[in-house]
């Protein structure tokens, strides 16, 4: 178990680091995909089937492809002359480290704050489905409405440009 965890964690971290350090933008996008796959494997190793497969389906199947499309349709994958690091990289590093420290502290504290659970709860895909359309149906509908609005917005943006060219 722990060997698998360390292997997958190393893969995920390597993917994330590569995404930041590679020069070619498309290589960065593919490295992010590796990090997504590592995260999915971590979910699976924690017995969270639904989260793991949803991670693959949504992040590798859709988000990674979207990122790649955006790169190719905007400015190409050529390496910029000024290098890949922005001037304020040190500030970014400090902010990222701060957020990581807060999250890490919160996770560490939660072990004391919550009573120890004897066994990990067995959550099946069936339970998640029942919860989504039962107790959490209102948040689900709100998210659906938001996504529909975003889709309509995207269509309107695309339509507007077409009318102007005619």
């Amino acid at each position: 178990m722990s060997v698998i965890f360390f292997l997958v964690a190393a893969l995920t971290v390597a993917g994330g680091l590569a995404a930041v350090l590679f020069k070619n933008t498309v290589h960065c996008a593919l490295a992010v995909t590796v990090a997504f796959a590592g995260l999915a494997l971590l979910f699976l190793s924690l017995d969270a089937q639904f989260a793991g497969f949803a991670q693959v389906l949504v992040y590798i199947g859709a988000v990674a492809i979207l990122v790649v499309f955006a790169i190719l349709l905007t400015r190409g994958s050529e390496t910029p002359q000024s290098g890949v690091f922005s001037k304020s990289w040190f500030t970014g590093l400090v902010i990222a480290a701060g957020i990581f420290a807060v999250l890490g502290w919160a996770v560490m504290q939660s072990a004391h704050a919550l009573p120890q659970q004897a066994a990990a709860p067995a959550v099946t895909v069936h339970d998640i489905g029942v919860a989504l359309v039962g107790r959490y149906v209102l948040p689900l509908e709100i998210v659906a409405l938001l996504l529909t609005a975003a889709t309509i917005g995207a269509v309107i943006v695309a339509l507007h440009e077409k009318e102007r060219t005619q």
Partner: protein, 391 residues
């Protein structure tokens, strides 16, 4: 005896692993299952290529391969040796690492899909609670490999083919998933074995397959259309249209890497047909109650091969679509129809059994089909067909 024959592969596996110490047995059982899948489906791929070439030849009034072995049936062997010994050419400007990884990612992702398909009674490698979700997750990751192949080749045909392939796969993935969701709504499970079990009982001699219900028939048709587009087969083979893009995203591949792309495409056909058979055609269950003595795996592979035959038949019959026709068809016909079908399935689920729900559901679906077809055609302003001949 019939039971023994039905379970012959399971019995064979158990007999093989009983030689090993008990600690190793679960692991060995999984390895044997993986080896069986990795051997059987590429074998079927070799057979399918020769049948496809012979069948297309028959449809086009020519002979097809007839040099190697009796009636040319050893052609795949010759093709395999050829692709193994051919020089593997990587273009000078290509991105060597990504170019090398693309066919591997494709074949691995496609093979993973077979892990959850029930190939016969008790013959499923991993009986997962979320089997259908796993299958679609693996199917979605093939898009990345197609992009990798097209982009890393640094060739305008390749990148155009890859962009076309990804746009097409994303557009048709939505109806593919939505048409499968209807089955999940009725069965109440994402597990493919449970979906087969739900269909494996009979009314009189006839099976209760989902394709024999109004919503199931509509879903099956939409699933078949979307599956053809997902596997880039004619009439949806724009990504590799040889007359416009040479071979699309794998133009710059030669030798065994090309063979891997070819293999990946056919394995994708096998797995998506197997999924279609599992969801709508009762998987490994027999088509009539008096035929249940025939081993279950024979039924699964017969249904799979029948679907492959239809793929080949369509390739010999239909012309290729244009890009705008492809997209209009996906977003203006297939997607609204699958959405309507979701509502009809919910209606079917909550109406009382009996003839009324058959009439209501069929009427809604048939009416919507005719209405959408008529309005779509009326907008095109097609007159009577006219022919012009070359002078």
């Amino acid at each position: 005896m019939a039971d023994k024959l039905d379970q012959i592969f399971i019995l064979l596996r158990d007999w093989l692993i009983h030689f090993l110490p008990a600690a190793l047995r679960p692991f060995a059982a999984v390895v044997l299952g993986v080896v069986a899948i990795v051997c059987v489906f590429p074998g079927l791929f070799a057979l399918t290529t020769v049948f496809e070439r012979k069948g297309l030849g028959r449809m086009q009034n020519r002979l097809g391969p007839n040099r190697v072995g009796p009636f040319g049936f050893f052609q795949p062997v010759a093709d395999g040796i050829k692709s193994l010994t051919k020089e593997d050419i990587v273009p000078l400007s290509a991105d060597a690492v990504v170019h090398f990884l693309a066919p591997l990612v494709l074949v691995v992702a496609v093979f993973m899909g077979f892990a959850v398909l029930p190939l016969g009674r008790n013959m499923v490698l991993v009986d997962m609670d979320a089997g259908l979700l796993f299958f679609f997750a693996m199917g979605a990751s093939t898009e990345v490999s197609i992009f990798m192949a097209g982009w890393s080749s640094r060739n305008k045909y390749s990148i155009l083919g890859a962009m076309r392939a990804i746009a097409q796969m994303i557009s048709y993935e939505v109806p593919l998933l939505l048409s499968s969701v209807t089955v999940v709504m009725i069965t109440g499970s994402l597990s493919l074995t449970k979906i087969v079990e739900a269909q494996n009982h009979y009314t009189g001699v006839f099976p209760n397959w989902y394709v024999f219900t109004p919503w199931g028939f509509a879903s099956f048709l939409m699933f078949a259309i979307a599956a053809t587009a997902e596997t880039n087969r004619t009439p949806f083979d724009l990504p590799e249209g040889e007359s416009e893009l040479v071979a699309g995203y794998f133009t710059e591949y030669s030798g065994f890497k090309f063979a891997l792309f070819f293999l990946g495409e056919y394995l994708g056909m096998f797995s998506i047909s197997g999924l279609g058979a599992t969801l709508f055609l009762g998987g490994w269950s027999a088509p009539f109650s008096f035929l249940t003595w025939v081993p279950s795996w024979i039924w699964f592979f017969s249904k799979d091969m029948a679907a492959i035959f239809i793929f080949i038949w369509m390739r010999g019959t239909l012309p290729r679509l244009r890009q705008d026709q492809l997209m209009n068809f996906a977003w203006k016909f297939v997607l609204p129809f699958t959405l309507l079908n979701l509502l009809v399935t919910a209606l079917w689920r909550f109406m009382d059994g009996g003839w009324l729900r058959w009439v209501v559901c069929s009427a809604i679906l048939a009416g919507a089909y005719v209405l959408m077809g008529r309005t779509g055609m009326a907008r095109k302003n097609y007159g009577p067909r006219s022919y012009r001949y070359a002078e």
